[in-house]
Structure formats: C-alpha cells, structure tokens
C-alpha cells in the first residue's frame, strides 16, 4: 500500500465521518435549542427526525407513483415539507404536553420518552415495521472523483452542504434576529424578559417547534445515507444528547465543534477497531471528559 493509498483511505474515512457529523449536528442543533435554551429534555427528538425521514419517503412514493414529472425535484420540496411537518407536530406537542412541565425538567424526560414510544408505534402501524428508503433523484447518485482512487459520494456532499446552510441560518437567527434576541433574553432571565414585554410562552413554543423542525430536516438528510425504520431516530438520541452536553449546553457553536469531534473520533476509530468498540471508546471518552469538565467544551457565561 503506497502512501497515496493510505491518504485516500484516510480522506474517505474522514468523509464518512463528515456524513455522521452532518446528522449528529442537525440533531444536536435542534436539541441544543430545546435543551440548552429552554432546559426541556426532549427524548422524542429522535422521533421528530423520523418524521422528517418518513416525509421524504412519502414524497418519493408520490413522485414515483403519481407524479413522475417531479421525480428529479421532489427532494428539495420534501426537505421543506419535513421541516414544516416536524415544526407543526412540535408546536402541538409543546401546547399539549411540554408547557405543563416546564417546572419539572426530570418529568419532561419521562413524558417525552412515553411520547416517543407512542410515536414509534404510530410509525410502525402506518409504514410497517420494515425499513424503507426513498428513491433518490439521479443527481444525488454516484460519486465525485477528484483524484485517482479517491471517491467522494455526492449524497454525502449534498448532506454536508445542507447542514452547513441550516447551521448558518440557525446561528444567524439566534444571534441576529428578533426571535433569537427574545430566546436569549428568556434564557438569561425569564422574569425580566416577561417584564419587558416579551411573550415568553410564545417564545418557548416557537423555540420548541423550530428545534423539532430542524430535527425533521436532519431526518431528510438521514434518508440519503441510511434507510428509515420506526426506531431509527431513537438510535441517535443518546448520541445527540451527548453532543449537546459535550459541547456545553446553551452554546450553539459548542454543538458544532462537539458534533465534529465525536463524529470524527467514532469514524476514525472505526477504521482501527470494530464498530461497537469504536462506539464504546467514543462514549467513554465523552463520559470521562464530562466527569472532569461537567460544563462541557464551551461553558455558558450565564449564572443559573
């Protein structure tokens, strides 16, 4: 094996890590908004991702069977639809469930876990227990070979670009928009925010719904690299919680850095160890890190 082969393998393995990074980051961002900013633990977050994934599958099925004209373009519409549907369900869940439990964070954990069980069963009854995959449009297939022996799959590139766009949009919204200002004010001091005329309840609901919507987009991205089953989302829930805590809750930039670090650690160690041992190693490293530095990589300056 020559040096350039090793370099190519290293690059491709690194790129596989980037795909994982994309899903973890999108999941983590949604959670970081909900958990970091609002202090609500949403164990059903994975199921919102599954909602997004099934939405894409539904659109793909429609494009295949009813509207063949759209078989190349449906994917872009489906991403928007995934956001909208997850957003709407999130809005509903906040209204029905979460708003009654803001004072009891540990209980939101149990209630949303119950919610996730129910949603999984709904998926199972609607789409069947088997894993499904949408038919991807042709322009997402194939790979890009900038160099001899180096193949970079196009769907991975697309997911990465999508992630970057969403992340940039969220960071901008959080730090430049009125909504972001309201959210940050509510997090910093709920009573003062209320007193200065911010409707904190509405802010909470919008924040929760946006977090869920981002999870829906994560699901749409997920369909390009894996198949969707009723429990697909729950496989990522612990990882994404660790991404958020490792990065330092209430710090979106920390989430980006930690998602990158975790995905790359796992992907690179997968090359040397078996898949399960790579996972154990990654998780152990995170847990040890959190034991030494519980506030995560980027500590929030807010006292609470």
């Amino acid at each position: 094996m020559s040096f350039s082969d090793i370099l190519n393998i290293g690059l491709m393995q690194g790129f596989a890590g980037l795909s994982l990074f994309a899903v973890l980051l999108l999941m983590g961002l949604g959670l970081a908004i909900i958990f970091g900013q609002m202090g609500v633990i949403n164990m059903a977050h994975g199921e919102f991702m599954t909602i997004g994934a099934y939405t894409v599958y539904l659109f793909s099925w429609l494009a295949d069977n009813r509207f063949p004209r759209f078989s190349q373009t449906y994917f872009l519409v489906a991403i928007v639809a995934a956001f909208v549907i997850a957003f709407a369900v999130g809005w509903l869940v906040e209204w029905a469930l979460i708003r009654h439990l803001y004072k009891r964070p540990l209980d939101t954990l149990l209630a949303t876990w119950g919610l996730s069980l129910g949603m999984q069963q709904v998926f199972r009854s609607t789409f069947g227990p088997k894993e499904v995959s949408p038919t991807l449009p042709d322009w997402l297939m194939g790979s890009w070979a900038p160099h001899e022996g180096l193949d970079i799959p196009i769907n991975g590139l697309f997911v990465l670009a999508l992630t970057l766009v969403i992340t940039a949009a969220l960071l901008l919204a959080m730090y430049k928009s009125r909504w972001g200002l309201r959210v940050r004010a509510t997090v910093a001091n709920r009573i003062m925010a209320n007193a200065s005329g911010i409707d904190t309840r509405k802010t909470d609901r919008l924040t929760f719904a946006i977090g869920c919507g981002v999870a829906g987009v994560a699901g749409a991205a997920f369909t390009t690299i894996g198949s969707t089953g009723p429990t697909s989302g729950s496989l990522y829930i612990v990882d994404s919680f660790l991404v958020v805590t490792f990065g330092g809750a209430a710090h979106l930039l920390g989430t980006v850095v930690s998602a990158f670090g975790i995905a790359q650690t796992q992907s690179i160690s997968e090359f040397f160890l078996t898949g399960s041992m790579a996972k154990v190693l990654t998780l152990l490293l995170i847990v040890f890190f959190l034991m030494i530095r519980p506030q995560g990589l980027f500590a929030s300056k807010v006292r609470r």
């Binding site: 469930l97 954990l109 876990w113 009854s125 998780l283």
Partner: protein, 395 residues
C-alpha cells in the same frame, strides 16, 4: 391486640404487612409454579424499584441507568453458575473442555483472568453487591463532587447504560454477546430448574425483598433519611447548614445500585439466564416507570406498581401486541401529567379520605341517635372537607 395495632400504625408497617400477605401467602396459594416463577421474576424488578424510590423519590436524583446495576449483579451470579455448569466432564465435546460454551465457540482456549474468582460462591455473593456499588461510587463521586446534578446526571447514567450494553454485545467471546449467559443449571450441585428449587427461590426472593423494604423504611426514619429528604427539597439549605450534599447523593446512588444488583442476581437464579437486554437504555427507563406508576414516594407502592405494569405487559403483549406500546406511552405521559405520585399517591389523596368519610358517615346516625342535641348541620360529614382545604392552602 390493640398494642400490636398501635405498634404497626406507629411504624407505618401496614402497607408492608399487606404486601407480605400478598406475596408470601396469597400468590403462592393461588398460582401454579409457572405463574409463581413469573411473579418471582417481576419481584426481582421490585428491588430496582425500591432503589429508585430511595434515589429518585426520596433523594430527588433520577438515574436512567439502573439496568446497568441490575445487569452487573445478574452477570456476576450468571458467571458463577456458568462456570459450575461448564465443568470439564459435561463440556468434554468442546475443543477446550472446562470453559463456558460460548468462549469455545469464539475460539478462546483459556478462561480470562477476571473470570477466575467467580469459581468461588463467597466472592460471587460479595461481587453481586460490591461490583454495582463500586461502579456507582466511581460514577457518582466524580459527578456529584463537581456538583453535576439533575438532568445532566440522568443523561450520563443513560450513556453508561448504552456503553455497557454495547460493550457486552461487542465482546461476545468473554460475555456471551447478545444471547447473554444461558444454560445455567445448578447452584453448588442443587438443581435450580426443578419445581421445588423454584418454590424455595421464590420465597427467598420475596423474603429478601421484604427485608430490603424494611431496611429502606428504617433508613428513611433515621437522621440520614431526613437529610436525604431535605436535600431533595432544598439542597442549598442543607449545604449551608454545613452538610456535604455530594456525600449523601453518593450514598443514595450506591444504595440504589446495591439493591439493583441483588435484584439482578435473584433474577438470574430464578429465570436461569442473563442477557444484555436487561442492561441497555430501554429496560433502564422502563424500570423508572415501574416505580413511577406505583408511586415514587412509596416503597410498597413501587413494588405493587412493578407487579401491575409487568402483569399488564405480559397480558397485553400476548393479546394485543400493537396496543402495548400505546398503553406504555399513555402510562408514561399519564403518570407524569395526572398523578406524579403514582398509585400510592392516589391512595393517600383520594381513597383514604373517601374511606374516612365513609367511616364517619356510618358513625353519624349512631351519634345522632345517641346524642339528639347535636344539630344535623355540624355532623362530621360536613365538617370533614374543611381541614383538607386548610391543608391545601400552603401549596
């Protein structure tokens, strides 16, 4: 007779005695050995539930990793039983006789060093309690000394559950992998699969559970228990009164871990195997719901809740497998939203006042005939709601 009654009332042993009557007399009398063995299995989850009552209800620390300790206790016991089941004579067809069958299938030729001590029953019995406790100590000491608590602690315990289950499944050469440790036959030559052994193990398990509940009740009544309760409600005040809160939290976590470990070992003895499906995230969080349904504040209630949820599961998953997850979802959401103190809380807030009203209204006519001077408007029935409203005001 009256003195016994007062004694029971003073020590709040009524619930415990009712539970003892249920699991020591009624269940064994009314069920065949197959069903009784099933109940014995459910009762082993009861150890986890009472651990969670002490940890979560009484001390305010939610752990989503109790399956880890249940599993560790169970695996310690299973390793001992497996070593006894794989003596060189009964494993002579293997390429390496004398080691557990799954090791042979995975081309291991010698017993790993850390399996060696499990040849001894004394070591195993100690390990059942000490291994979970030590792990719990390591986790909780590091976390609580740095004042990590609440949600973060719950997430870390969940990560630990994930790590251990992935590790056990991945290292199948030394742990038996996803199948776990199976084909356990004898305990010091005593066949644990026979009906008589199952009866004995059931009663040993039930007795041990009652003893553990009694021990926890005793802890709740000591100064330590009061401090744990105080820590749950106003952690800062306990800290400012000069107590090191972290130490008490570590104690509560270790206690819950030790109880779970005992439950795991009893599970292995009664069911005859141990597998990673009792270690991961899903079983761990289900154990929390057992305790929540019964009542996170009541030791006896948590055990009853465990029995009910498991009965419901075995009934529904046999008859309507699709409905079970919906029911479980409804349980999680309903318990949290509608009655956070579970069945025991309902008993205290609704059934007991109702019984008191019933008793009072039964006495009223007697009082009315005995003492006709008392006007009907101030009979006890109408007086009763008054104190409850006064009590409700401070909340």
């Amino acid at each position: 007779m009256n003195t016994i009654k007062t004694w029971i009332h003073q020590h709040q042993l009524g619930g415990l005695l009712a539970l003892a009557l249920l699991i020591l007399v009624i269940l064994p009398a009314g069920l065949d050995i197959f069903r009784l063995n099933l109940f014995g299995k459910y009762l082993t989850y009861g150890f986890v539930s009472i651990g969670l009552v002490m940890l979560w209800g009484h001390s305010g620390i939610l752990s989503l990793g109790q399956g880890v300790f249940f599993g560790l206790g169970g695996y310690c016991m299973a390793m001992f039983l497996k070593l006894e089941a794989s003596d060189p004579i009964s494993t002579r067809i293997q390429s390496t006789p004398g080691i557990p069958d799954f090791m042979d299938w995975n081309q291991l030729t010698a017993l790993p060093l850390w399996w060696q001590p499990f040849h001894s029953l004394t070591f195993t019995l100690l390990a059942v309690v000490l291994v979970p406790t030590l792990l719990a100590f390591c986790i909780s000491f590091a976390m609580f000394k740095r004042r990590v608590s609440g949600v973060y602690f719950a997430i870390i315990t969940q990560a630990v559950a994930l790590i251990l289950s992935v590790l056990i499944i991945g290292q199948q050469g030394v742990t038996g992998g996803v199948n776990g440790i199976t084909d356990l036959k004898t305990l010091l030559g005593w066949d644990i699969r026979s009906n008589s052994a199952r009866y004995i193990l059931y009663f040993a398990n039930a007795g041990l559970l009652l003893a553990c509940i009694w021990g926890c009740m005793w802890i709740q009544k000591t100064k330590l228990g009061t401090l744990l309760l105080a820590m749950r409600d106003k952690e800062d005040r306990v800290q400012f009164s000069g107590y090191d809160v972290a130490n008490f939290k570590v104690f509560a976590f270790c206690l819950a871990a030790a109880l779970s470990g005992i439950g795991g070992a009893m599970f292995t003895l009664q069911v005859g195997f141990m597998s990673p499906s009792f270690v991961g995230i899903i079983p761990s969080i289900e154990m929390v719901i057992f305790a929540a349904v019964g009542g996170r504040l009541s030791l006896v209630g948590a055990v009853v809740g465990t029995l009910l949820v498991n009965l419901g599961r075995s009934y529904f998953s046999e008859s309507f497998p699709d409905l079970w997850l919906f029911l479980m979802a409804a349980l999680f959401i309903g318990v949290v939203m509608a009655f956070p103190n579970g069945l025991a809380g309902l008993l205290d807030s609704h059934i007991k006042p109702w019984l008191a009203r019933r008793a009072a209204s039964r006495q009223t006519p007697v009082a009315a005939t005995g003492d006709p001077v008392v006007p009907a408007s101030i009979t006890p029935t109408q007086d009763l709601p008054l104190p409850t409203t006064i009590q409700a005001q401070p909340e």
